[in-house]
């Protein structure tokens, strides 16, 4: 009895010490997880997660200091990917499932103040001072920073329209989407 307890305890102590030593000496300087997480993020440095840019958010995620639901432009898709990578279950309850959006500028209200072009981190808005601005949809990732800063509310966020080229069949048996036809 005593021998059994003793030997098990000895094994435990030895292995524990070994693990502790290994953790100290074999520690990886840079967290590879960080780079992997960064690759999943949109990379547009919009800063809406509360961090300076995507790299900082990735770092915080890797250290477990940030929630996976903070990336606004990434939406549900990115949240799910992050959750899978980190092995956590994302709380999507407070997350409204909206389709990807792009900014749209209403000509009638745009005064050409250039604030949105300065705000945009992907140069997706073109325009000169006192002239109508336009969004290049292919470069817009829907971070909505321009939408928030526009002084005349000329910018609206619109869902990316489905075209004949991008439409595809839903999964068999899936409930019909809201846009289904009569």
């Amino acid at each position: 009895m005593l021998i059994a307890v003793g030997s098990l305890a000895a094994i435990g102590v030895t292995l524990g010490t070994l693990l502790g030593v290994a953790a100290r000496y074999l520690a990886v300087e840079e967290n590879p997880l960080e780079a992997e997480l960064l690759a999943l993020l949109p990379g547009s440095q919009c800063g809406q997660c509360g961090f300076v840019g995507c790299a900082q958010y990735a770092k915080a995620l890797a250290q477990g200091e940030a929630a996976v639901t903070q990336c606004a432009p990434g939406g549900k898709a990115v949240t799910e990917k992050l959750a899978r990578k980190l092995g956590v279950t994302a709380d999507l309850s407070g997350h409204e499932d909206k389709a990807p959006e792009v900014a749209f500028i209403d000509e009638a209200f745009c005064i050409g103040c250039l604030r949105c072009t300065q705000e945009c981190s992907t140069d997706a808005i073109v325009g000169a001072s006192k002239q109508m601005h336009t969004v290049i949809p292919d470069l817009c990732h829907g971070c909505a920073k321009c939408f928030k800063i526009c002084p005349t509310e000329a910018i609206s966020m619109r869902p990316i329209p489905v075209t004949l080229g991008t439409w595809h069949w839903d999964k068999p048996g899936a409930p019909a989407p809201a846009t289904a036809l009569h």
């Binding site: 990807p100 990732h141 004949l164 069949w169 036809l181």
Partner: protein
Amino acid sequence: MKLFPVRGGVHPDYRKERTAECAIEAMPMPARLCIPLQQHIGAPAEPLVAEGERVRKGQTLAHSQGALSAPVHAPTSGRIAAITEITAPHPSALPLLTIVLESDGLDEWADLPPPIPDPLSAPPEAIRARVAEAGIVGMGGATFPSAVKLGLGTNHKLDVLVLNGAECEPYLTCDDRVMREHADEVIDGARIMAHALGAPRIVVAIESNKPQALEAMARAASAFADTDVVGVPVQYPMGSERHLTQAVTGRETPARKLTADVGVVVHNVGTARAVHHAVRFGRPLLSRVVTVSGGAIAHAKNVDVPLGTMVSELMAFCGGLAAPVQRLVNGGPMMGQPLPTPEVPVIKGTCGILALVPSETNEHRTEPCIRCGSCVTYCPCGLVPVEMAAFIRKDDLDAAARIGVMDCVSCGSCSYVCPSHIPLVHYFNYAKGSLNAQDRDRRKQSRIKEQAQVHTERIEKQAQAKREAAAAAAAARKAQQQTETNADDRASA
């Protein structure tokens, strides 16, 4: 001629007898035509006319926009009533920008471009330009702009033009009738296309269940040594471009490549006839032959339909409905697309309109898969549908992609034979669409990332420049102060 075996495939009930002996009838010109600006793969055409404008038959209504596009023309003379959105002849039922033309009943021709004299010695570019101008697209249903496909000869060494008269889809007999009734036009068009492609040989491939078409085409081709007409085995999907190429030449087109990469270009017989009209008479593509059939159609027919005719009007021309329709299909029953409503126009790729009743569709409740392996045996692409569908059901699209879902041509053979009535092709269509969307997203994302990088660097550079300017200014100021101090010192000294 030696033929080569093709893997898999099914032998569906062909049901062609109902229309095979129906000569092509011309549809009377409808009072209103709805001509969508996108009837092809690629960018939509851009309107050249305005509401209220009067146009004449054959006049270009919208011209092509970009390298991959096709113009549309007025099928008759009349007034542009509107340029508006209507429901697309597509399962999505998305709105599609459409020119609505009200016929004036005069059917008055516009000035057409002159015929190309001696097209078989004309430069290939001239033929391609004419085909592009005539708005011709793949008439077999793929609707790929034909002029672009005729340009494949410029960067590929081609040796055969295969003219696709297989018409392996059940019900459809429009190509059969075109070959029987207009064999000379088809052969002439094919020779013009072969010349444009630089292909020295033409093989007309027709499924051997169309003996009259084979005979008519062989007669029309008998004068030309470089043109062969062959009967290929009756085996669905023989009309698939890659499989037909394999059957005729024995060459297997590598995945993600074109048949042109193995020296073959495949064009539909209807396309060849349209090319003949465009080159010899300057006539653009204004109408097409459509097979109207299915158990619910009162009088099944082959109809020469002006593009833009409503499907409902076309069905009315065929005696209307004799029974409730379960499925209204645009194209053949295997690869055709369901139509959301008959209030959609006939477009360039509409080869058939089928109003099917339950006894024809034979739809049943889905049962559990019993792993019988029929789908594997019959898949003409050598895929394992049972496993791909299992992955897709579990939302593991990447695993499905790894075992080849993107190589699926959606021919429908697996769904057709499945004893459990599992909608396999639906799963694959979903997976392919979803994976393509993911791919588009990824590409957009990486472009945005690059752009963000450029943006950050520019901001950084500007800041740097500002700092340097500030530093320079400060240094200058300091230097000046220094000189002043020195001067003061000297002065005081």
